[in-house]
Symmetry: C2
Subunit: 177 residues, 2 copies
DNA sequence: TCCCAAGCGGAGTCTGCCTCCGCTTATCCT
DNA sequence: AGGATAAGCGGAGGCAGACTCCGCTTGGGA
């Protein structure tokens, strides 16, 4: 990669992070390019889609969450802590949860691949917690993840700031009967 | 209201219903006007915002849901049935749940007013069910509604078709401890 | 130093939102 | 019936943002 290309790539990432933090994931791409001091064509060459840009920003966080799930003990508390971390990272930028969930339908994207490893680790943690008796055994991982993402989204939208409380209500209720 | 105005109003509503059903609530308004055989200006005169159009389409359903909540007995089962009906109506068009929840933040819209009566009736039903011992008493209505809408949204997005199952998991878990 | 492919950038196209205002016509009045 | 008039119409036009295309520039190897 040529030095100027690398430089532009980095600047774009930095400005994208700032713009997303400020205006949410729907921030104008033309604006990001302008702020980075490059043409819009350059942005599109490095990141062909908005999702590609998001993925580059979020990859490290996903990896960390996957690792957290793998290292966690098989308890309801650990599952709750992991889910809370997922919810918090999915609300890092306004609209992120929506981007996640809609992208998770399209298996061809980079963002999907990144998310998938994290969700797989979460799936494993759930099933370990179930075997250890912390969670009722009939709940399936996609059901659990759907509820977690849904609650994160709704709390973000209503600006509730109740993520942890809602997650606790949910997990309390998923105890074995 | 002049006869031609009334006619246009009705045609716009009919075409909007069709377009939303087909393409989701983000369907192009210019397209709806075109299909109704009127100018875009006419659409905007009758329905100044997309929400106004949605509200006109959904009002009757909201009223019915409010009535259902008022007439329901104070049981967990009745609350579940009402919540399921809410979830189903909020997924009548693709993207509707999002429109609901984001609009519920803006108290000045018509859609807000319509939704509010329905949510108020649901709030009352929840509190009756709590008094009757069917639901744990520390859950507050906004928390409950947030979770219900969130789950409806996530299930719609993932095309899960598990709305009822997820709602049952949630309400099972909200039994008094 | 020269060369050329990697890389740049922005003009141009497209789509959709929304406003504004000159024209049309339904309806009322005589 | 026919004229007056305000209610209603409609689309041109301005704006914003996504995305493409291609002629120009330049980093860096030979």
């Amino acid at each position: 990669m040529r030095a100027d290309a690398r430089r532009n790539y980095e600047r774009l990432l930095a400005e994208a992070r700032a713009a997303f933090a400020e205006s949410g994931v729907e921030a104008s791409l033309e604006d990001i390019a302008r702020r980075a001091g490059v043409g819009i064509g350059t942005l599109y060459r490095h990141f062909p889609t908005r999702d590609a840009l998001l993925e580059a920003l979020l990859r490290d966080g996903f990896d960390a969450l996957a690792a957290q799930a793998r290292d966690a003990p098989a308890t309801r508390e650990a599952l709750a802590a992991w889910a809370l971390a997922v919810m918090e990272s999915s609300t890092a930028y306004r609209g992120l949860t929506t981007a996640f969930v809609t992208t998770l339908r399209d298996e061809s994207t980079e963002l999907y691949a990144s998310c998938k490893a994290m969700n797989a680790a979460g799936t494993d943690l759930l099933s370990r917690a179930q075997q250890a008796g912390g969670i009722r055994p009939d709940v399936e991982a996609p059901e659990f993840l759907t509820m977690v993402y849904g609650i994160a989204w709704a709390d973000e939208q209503t600006r509730g700031g109740r993520t942890e409380r809602l997650l606790n209500l949910l997990l309390d209720g998923l105890r074995p009967i």
